[in-house]
Amino acid sequence: MRAFRDLSIKRKLTLIIMATSFVALLLACTAFLAYDWVTFRRGMVEALSSQAESIGINSSAALAFNVQGSGNEILASLRAQPHVVSAYIFDKDGSVFAQYRRSGVNGQASAPKLQPAGHYFDSNYLHLFQPILQAGDRIGTVYIQSDLDQVNTRLRRYLMIVAFIIAAALAVAFMFSSGLQRVVSGPILHLAEIETRVHQENDYSIRATKESNDELGLLIDGFNEMLKKIQDRDALLTIAKDKAEEANRTKSSFLANMSHELRTPLNAILGYSEMLIEDAQDTGSEEAVPDLQKIHAAGKHLLSLINDVLDLSKIEAGKMELYVESFEIPAAVHEVVTTIQPLVAKNENVLKVNCPAEIGGMRSDVTRVRQVLFNLLSNASKFTDRGVISLDVSAKPRGDQDWIVFKIKDTGIGMTPEQMGKLFQTFSQADASTTRKYGGTGLGLVISRRFCQMMGGDVVVESESGSGSTFTVQLPRHMPEEAKAEGVPAESEPKEALTPQPNTILVIDDEESARDLATRLLTKEGFNVQAASSGEEGLRLARELHPTAITLDVLMPNMDGWSVLKALKADKELADIPVILLTIVEDKQLGYALGARDYLTKPIDRERLTSILKKYRVDNNSHVLVIEDDIGIREMMRRVLEKEGWNVREAENGREGLDRVAEERPGLILLDLMMPLMDGFEFVSELHKRQEWRSIPIVVVTGKDVTAEDRERLTGHVQKILLKGAYKNEDLLAAVRGVVNTSKI
């Protein structure tokens, strides 16, 4: 049965059909055979009894007259019947009157016991007794014994026929069933195949084809419906997941940025309050000092909280890096102990340190080790009043590693097991009232533990409420290299979203069609493409993804490409990412990109030229350098400039321009972009190589049309130039004025 259950549907169906046909045929044949057998035997009995009857009639006279020889003669006529084995005639008294025995046959050896009229079968013979009647009186009995060869032969032949019919019928049934079972098995197999494909290809858009309206059709409908639901749900989940990841990224970068932004004003609060304390002490207004100290202390507290948040957000974003170096343990411990002393003394605690000098050095991140120890010691100090805090440092070999164990024990308030359970969870202190009483974010322990894990170790705690706590930090003496990678906690956010992937291109463009086009193009080339629809988003993604390259649209609302470029180049981590500008730039921006102060378009508008000149006129002593290959334009400019009171020098191309600048530093440069020998682009980049020439204001003079090739060259230069100077316009303006002023002195 087990074997049958594991057969394929096809086989099962074929087998079922054949078994059914076989049983039906067998039943039919058996019934037919049984009927035939019974009928045939009855026919045999009838034939035999009519024979016996005629023998009786023929022999009645002989019997009446007791002529034995006549009786035997009558019986001898049975010789014509080959199946009759023996025959007897009994007289009225039951004695044998006549007998016949077929020669050569081992029939009945002696006369049978006389029985009343009737017949019976034994295994080999039919026995028949027929009374001989005369005028209603029984005057004797005829007995005939016949063999069953006829019946048996017939039966054998019939069995052979039945076997043949069944065999033939089964063969036909097999052929039919093999074909017909497909009606049922086909859709099921199709369904199974679709299911496998969905599973293997993870493609829920595949659908099974329905071919009938029966139960299988319903099954396929149901299956398709289910796939559709899964597909819909997947789509929703993907959107939800994307949103969640996006939100998470936003959160992480928000936290990181915010913490950084918060520190800047805090620096001022701390610095100025410190200065006021010094001032107050100097001027003798001592009464202000305690209040100022409170401001300062609160500021420092706030700073430590911000630092915690920043640390945690970095850890969770997988951005925390360890700096592994060799250091002496006693020295590091000593440093922590010195720093923590005031805090220990605050609650009148005593700190006992046991750090044997022979413990030697370890290889780990000393800053983080100190931070962990400081955090644990400051917790111990906070939660202990007039008690003893001890720090024990020991080395303990475990496995093939040498471990350094720092044990920080206090005699403070301790913790219940329930509180201990919550101890290492983000933003949870032992309970809410703790926060009010003792302060802190509750992040310190979480951060300490994550740091320890990153360094290949861990922190464990033992405590009893009311009788103090013991925190044990265990760190490998030599931090394993892979610990850094493993150290990022398992529960941290999906890291892949934040880790740089090779070959990632960031496409920043506000136009959807342009974005899609670039994405498709680059994806086809095997790049991993991320798109941003605004400058802000682009910057955020750039910080998160550290793409291999960035394609940047220049004309975007809110934050344009130049601002993005500036921000990118100002960020030390992003400055090296090559940026490819994708749109044609306006002349004005083009000019600025080159580090130019202003721009002019050809044909030159005199009024505009003079107004620009006025803007840069600081004195009459410095001269203007006109670098322009067209002599007509050069002459025209010279006339305008001289009329405005400028001294003018001329250069025909960039190289000559550089020579002129070297001879005497100009107060202003009017620069054409398209020139032979050395063009405007090259000139600017050469000029900017000399630090002292960078502040010379340049006004770019350009034709309206910038060719694609020029654009390409420009982008290369844009990168270079902005890399060096990502400045604000006002800054530059101020710098230019300053430079022109000093050159006068």
């Binding site: 520190r263 620096n267 610095g271 200065m275 010094e278 700096y323 100002a570 630090q691 400045y727």
Partner: protein, 125 residues
């Protein structure tokens, strides 16, 4: 009176640091970016430079490298100041040629200790 050049783009940090140093008797000159820092250092040869590392135009790393490479300014000690407080920053600063390193927010006593140590070493040498 030792002359200290502060290269710092943040106005408040510049103001605080300069006033506190002046209060302690140092002569202070200031530059707003790396480029200006180089120019001032070259022109005025201060006794010590406090260099912020994230500066516009030319950043602190680059400015330090250039100053250390020039013959006139090569011997001026430079203390790097970074806001990042990352362990690697210290190595990076020393690699760029800085003589010492301190992290922001500035703890004045600590910084003064470093300044004094360097100036003493310089005068002794």
């Amino acid at each position: 009176m030792s002359k200290i050049l502060i290269v710092e783009d943040n106005e408040m940090n510049r103001d605080m640091l300069s006033r506190r140093l002046q209060r302690r008797g140092y002569e202070v000159i200031m530059a707003l970016d790396g480029g200006e820092g180089i120019e001032m250092a070259t022109a005025q040869i201060p006794d010590l430079i406090l260099m912020d590392m994230s500066l516009p135009v030319i950043d602190g790393w680059e400015a330090t490298r250039r100053l250390k490479a020039a013959s006139t300014t090569g011997s001026i000690p430079i203390i790097a100041l970074t806001a990042h407080a990352m362990a690697g920053d210290r190595e990076k600063a020393l690699e760029a040629g800085c003589d010492d390193y301190d992290s922001k927010p500035i703890e004045l006593t600590r910084l003064l200790g470093k300044i004094e140590a360097i100036l003493q070493r310089k005068n002794a040498g």
